[in-house]
């Protein structure tokens, strides 16, 4: 795997660098691989470099879909309590 985490940009620094934060842990990283990242954006960080920007709307869509799928399965089970 490649260990990478979504972190929030809290400060832009010179030389394409930025301070990111994850639950109270701050770290300086490089933004050299992404364009137009701004304070408040979430970026996926790997070995001290942002690989891509995280799209909060897509994340929300994915989460909504999880819930929907689970709900559908639950309803079906309730409609057919004997199960299959």
């Amino acid at each position: 795997m490649c260990l990478a985490l979504p972190c929030r940009i809290v400060e832009l620094r010179p030389d394409d660098r930025a301070l990111v934060e994850l639950d109270g842990v701050g770290k300086e990283i490089s933004l050299a691989l992404v364009d137009d990242a701004a304070v408040g954006d979430y970026v996926i960080v790997h070995v001290g470099y942002a690989l891509s920007r995280l799209d909060p709307e897509e994340a929300a869509k994915t989460l909504a879909l999880f819930a929907e799928l689970g709900e559908a399965a639950r309803q079906e089970r309730d409609a057919d309590p004997a199960g299959r």
Partner: protein, 383 residues
């Protein structure tokens, strides 16, 4: 942790598990390979197998850069330290990988010879290696660069920075490998091609690699091999949804590339990073993968324009292949033909403390993951 914790929610998981049970057909088995060690880790770390119906079998792929690094490459790094007297910078992961002669980077660091504590440094970022070079102008500093497409762009960046700074004492031992050729090699192997009992029905595609390369490079899998691919994030809900999407494709007889990790991955990927990689690296004709053997055009080397930063050229050092233990079944395990417990060395001779083959080397290797997270399941079956 925002964008992490939500994707680890136990309640949503039981909903997804129900959704998976709902679509699974009772009359067949589903064999999916998660290419990436990250997914393997998630599956074992969260105990996902307990949530999946028994018809779904996950096959752990070769997607762990440490596992596929051949012994001969670690030997090269140790030779650079011992014979050429360089200061080697390595990520933490390869430090424990066994090399020839009972050595490893950790042991070479501790052992006799020229290497002392300061000659092998553990770093967290490629940029740290550049810093070490600048702080030690009297020493030759080499970065042991491992990893897939994810870790490659940072290496490209530091090489360009070293050039811009005119650093004469910095070079890179490039061991970067590429994901799509490894996938092709697995799908090309005769056992998998035949299909039937050892076929693979679909692939969970890499998460972070795909942030760089996008989903497009997997399209050949769908087109040429007729296997569905779902690129998925590394959190457990991501993996479960990907499995659900694969089952649905299989049931419908479709073979498409789908993107579950749309919050971070696009079809095109990160163009800036891709261009950087193309500028600094070129394809190697062939590269040895531990467990898979020599794969054509499956790895990168540094372009001639940056030759002075290529440790292989600077120190005129050559790769020498070292054979793996003959009883090691890693090759078969990586192709899903065998399970770790079917290797006769598993958990007896070969353990995480004393790994014999590549699958036991990193905690994400198929054998190591099974050893440390799942072997009670075997015991339950026999007892």
């Amino acid at each position: 942790m925002r964008f992490i914790d939500e994707f680890r929610d136990g309640e949503l998981a039981s909903g997804l598990a129900a959704a998976i049970r709902r679509v699974v057909r009772r009359d067949r088995e589903y064999r999916f390979m998660e290419f990436c060690g990250g997914h393997t880790h998630t599956i074992s770390r969260y105990g996902l197998s307990d949530l999946l119906p028994h018809q779904v079998r996950m096959i752990h792929g070769p997607g762990c850069p440490v596992c596929v690094l051949p012994i001969g490459r670690i030997d090269m790094a140790i030779r650079l330290v011992r014979d050429a007297g360089v200061m080697l910078c390595s990520y933490g992961d390869p430090m424990r990988v066994p090399a020839s002669g009972g050595l490893s980077l950790l042991k070479a660091k501790a052992g006799p010879g020229r290497a002392s504590g300061s000659d092998i440094r553990m770093i967290y970022s490629a940029a740290d290696a550049l810093l070490v070079a600048r702080q030690n102008p009297q020493r030759q500093v080499v970065l042991l660069a491992i990893g897939f497409e994810t870790t490659t762009p940072p290496t490209a960046l530091v090489i360009k920075q070293a050039q811009a700074l005119g650093l004469g004492n910095f070079s890179v031992l490039c061991c970067h490998v590429l994901t799509p050729p490894a996938i092709a090699s697995i799908l090309d192997s005769p056992e998998v091609r035949q299909g039937g009992s050892v076929g693979i029905d679909g692939l969970v595609g890499p998460a972070h690699v795909s942030t760089i390369i996008g989903t497009q490079p997997y399209e050949f899998v769908a087109e040429q091999y007729r296997k569905p691919v779902v690129v998925a994030g590394f959190e457990p809900l991501d993996v479960m949804q990907a499995i659900l999407m694969l089952i649905e494709q299989v049931n419908a007889g479709r073979a498409l590339v789908e993107n579950q990790f749309s919050r971070a991955v696009t079809r095109e990927g990160n163009r800036k990073a891709q261009n950087l990689m193309a500028e600094v690296f070129e394809l190697r004709r062939s590269f040895a993968w531990r467990g898979l053997g020599d794969l054509p055009f499956s790895a990168l080397r540094i372009r001639r324009e940056f030759a002075e930063f290529d440790a292989e050229r600077r120190f005129a050092i050559r790769y020498e292949a070292v054979a793996d233990h003959p009883a090691c079944e890693c090759g078969a395990i990586l192709r899903g033909v065998k399970r770790p417990s079917q290797c006769r060395l598993f958990a007896s001779v070969c353990t995480p403390e004393n790994p014999v083959g590549s699958c036991m080397v990193s905690s994400e290797g198929a054998c190591a993951a099974h050893y440390s997270f799942g072997r009670f399941a075997d015991l339950e079956r026999v007892s």
